[in-house]
Amino acid sequence: MRESERHRVDEMLDLLAEEVADRLRTKFWLYSAREVDLPADSTTERERPDESLGEAGEPRAAAPEAGSGAPEAGSAGPEAGSAAAEAGYSTREERRAAPAAPEADREVSIEVGRALDAEPEKEPETEPEEAESERGLEPGLEPGPEASLEAGPEAGPQAEAPSSSPVPSHTARLLGRLALGLLVALVLINIPFNRHGTTLATAMPDNRALVIRNGLVVKEEDDPEIYVFENGEFRWISSLDAFQARGYTWEDVHIVEDGFLEDYAMGPPIHVLVKCNGSPHIYRVEGEKKRWIVDIEAFEAAGHVWEDVQFVSCATIRSLPNGETIPPGNGPAPEP
């Protein structure tokens, strides 16, 4: 026997064993649920002759167990099985098509015929899927192993060929349902549930999940100051104007635990410089106050460049209270 054929036979035997185990489980469940003996024409009864046979027509070890579940119901089964086994037919169809039995075996053959005729014409693959599920069988798989059995080991690769045909099967259905369920879950966890656009998927507080990169805006829990990470250091954003001038919004701010910034280097603060037309003075906005920059030397010493200067109305500048001058001690500051 070739290696591949041996594999195929092993696979068929595994499938067969699984099916037998399933059917036995179903039977025991049925018996224990009803607590009565089943009639001879019940579903379990008509399966009995088939189950009493091995692949090559030998009685299976599982058959006596099946019989013990309903002793009187199994009377025809083993006989029928043994008769068919003697004839060398391992499946129902082969037994149906078998030539007339010798006279001595006629009675047994009649028993076989009765047992088989009790089956409805519909085979399990044409039964509703729900019924198959109730019996604990895998609907799509049933034709596979039976077809393999009926064709026998001689049938070769064709015996399993139907398994690759587009037959809706248990695993395929399960996969489909899993995918569908996952899709529904994905939609649900991505639906915003507040006006900030928070979704279930992003609802967990993320202060421990920060990736420290340029542009990260943070604020310590009990500190009102806001910092932005730039080139390896955190820089204090000195005013709301500076915050807005950089295009940040409150959604960009990540709240971190107190002391988080202690581990990082601090860079020069980010200020907004304001000036109005008609006045030569430049002011630096810090918090809610304006600080007059006394002269060009002070301007450059503080690290400012002309590109930082924003033009606003003089009234806006005048509305801001005066803070300490830059450098300190040159007050009072002139109004624009």
């Binding site: 696979e11 690759s164 879950a185 990736v211 990169r213």
Partner: protein
């Protein structure tokens, strides 16, 4: 009346065919998982290779897209959609990049399989990987909803991909054994070639993933379709481990 009945029958017939076609994609997966021997023998004999490729392509793309969406959901809806598109692209591009190498090396060592048979085998591996990823998706979703550690979530996904990928390439090795070796005189060499190719495939795949990142999306950053190149996959995984263990901070 008869016309109406005929129309209904035709509609039912079309619906049935459509359903069979849809289920066919998934049934191929069942065949791979349950009757792999037969499946690989059919590939060896060139039976229905085109259908198999189509079915595996459809199902694996769908499963990868779903898993990608789960990964990206930790950041934003845009990231979810982006990852859903990028994850199938990652696997298929890796396949396209690596397929010629496997084919010509096999050819050089005495294989008589066609390129489409080789690609089908690779698709089998990818399909198995995608099914396993799909089966991991509920677990990943659970952690997505219950943890807030970005690095942990990233490493969880690396672990899931590693396990799924390993099982996938094991299928490929098994398939090659059945389809290509055939007990020939240079079967041992071809087996070695396949495993060397698998290592190459892993390297190409990981670099491709690094190129197409982000898939998860860093929580502190706005959505990015692609991140600027720099660094590499392995260094980042090590750094993530370091951050989880408290040694370094990933910047």
């Amino acid at each position: 009346m008869m016309g109406e009945a005929g129309r209904l029958t035709r509609e039912s017939d079309i619906e049935g065919k459509e359903r069979a076609r849809q289920m066919g994609n998934l049934s191929v997966i069942e065949t791979i998982l349950r009757s792999r021997q037969t499946f690989f023998e059919e590939i060896r004999e060139g039976k229905g290779v085109g259908e198999k490729m189509r079915a595996m392509l459809v199902s694996s793309v769908a499963f990868f897209a779903l898993y990608g969406a789960v990964m990206g959901s930790s950041h934003s809806l845009l990231q979810a959609l982006s990852s859903a598109a990028k994850l199938p692209l990652l696997f298929l591009t890796t396949l396209v990049v690596c397929a010629p190498t496997l084919y010509f090396f096999n050819l050089n060592f005495g294989s008589n399989q066609s390129l489409s048979q080789n690609v089908t085998l690779m698709l089998t591996s990818i399909t198995v990987t995608s099914v396993l990823l799909l089966s991991f998706a509920p677990v990943v979703t659970f952690f997505l909803l219950t943890t807030n550690q970005y690095q942990f979530f990233k490493l969880l996904n690396v672990g899931v991909f590693t396990i799924s990928g390993l099982i996938g390439v094991t299928f490929l090795s098994r398939g090659m054994q059945i389809v290509s070796y055939g007990g020939g005189e240079r079967a041992g060499t071809r087996r070695t070639v396949v495993w060397l190719w698998i290592i190459l495939y892993a390297f190409v795949g990981s670099q491709m993933a690094w190129t197409l990142r982000p898939f998860v999306g860093a929580p502190g950053l706005p959505f990015e379709l692609f991140r600027q190149l720099g660094g590499n996959f392995y260094a980042n995984v090590l750094a993530s481990f370091g951050e989880i263990l408290g040694f370094v901070t990933v910047r």
